[in-house]
Symmetry: C2
Subunit: 127 residues, 2 copies
């Protein structure tokens, strides 16, 4: 399978495949006489693997870690940390949301900016 065929099969950009190879997320494939990369279906599986891990919020660096992990425990650890990270981000966003909604509630909506509560709130010394 050429790189173009693999790209179509796994639904990613050709350059993405070469990029993953450069990052060592994908092993270097054999080359045919003309120098073209030659892939088999294992590469398709591995790419889908990467995409699924990404969809779970893992970065490419973390995906690489996952690939290099041999102990189940390590993967458990990695996933736990990811959960902590996600939860912290959720909590931050919830705080933001509360503040923004508070501002919005106080906004008079009409008139010049000088009377606007949102503007004033942002201006106030205390955030």
């Amino acid at each position: 399978m050429t790189i173009g065929q693999l790209a179509k099969l796994s639904n990613v950009n050709i350059d993405t495949i070469r990029y993953y190879e450069k990052l060592k997320l994908l092993p270097k494939p054999k080359r045919s006489k003309n120098g073209y990369r030659e892939y088999n279906n294992d590469y398709n599986i591995k790419i889908n693997y990467i995409l699924r891990a990404k969809a779970l919020g893992f970065t490419l660096r973390e995906v690489k870690e996952i690939f290099n992990t041999n102990e189940c425990e390590d993967l458990f650890e990695l996933t736990s940390e990811k959960i902590k990270d996600v939860e912290s981000r959720i909590s931050n966003l919830n705080n933001l949301n509360k503040k923004l909604k508070f501002l919005l509630k106080k906004c008079p909506v009409t008139g010049s900016i000088d009377n606007c509560s949102i503007m004033k709130s942002i201006l106030k010394t205390q955030s």
Copy 2:
């Protein structure tokens, strides 16, 4: 006030001030004879303004929009959109969190990666 003094006062990096000037978030200050930038306390206020808007989740581009906004309604609109954006991000993260926790619950925690539920789940065709 020189740029260094302003930086110390408003607790940002010198380069950040020049950067904000380049982005037109801060007006170009007067220059003294030697070519140094000359600031007054209004700049300090404005920088703090920017920092607070940033803390509310606005990007610098949005802060600039806020500065150029004259109608309260527009600011209301901007803030509403920001809330929508934040809520959508929260919802995405909650989904991720659910999936990750599900994986974690199924993980046997000990043994080789071959028996690991997390690994298997990521590998499965359905994400």
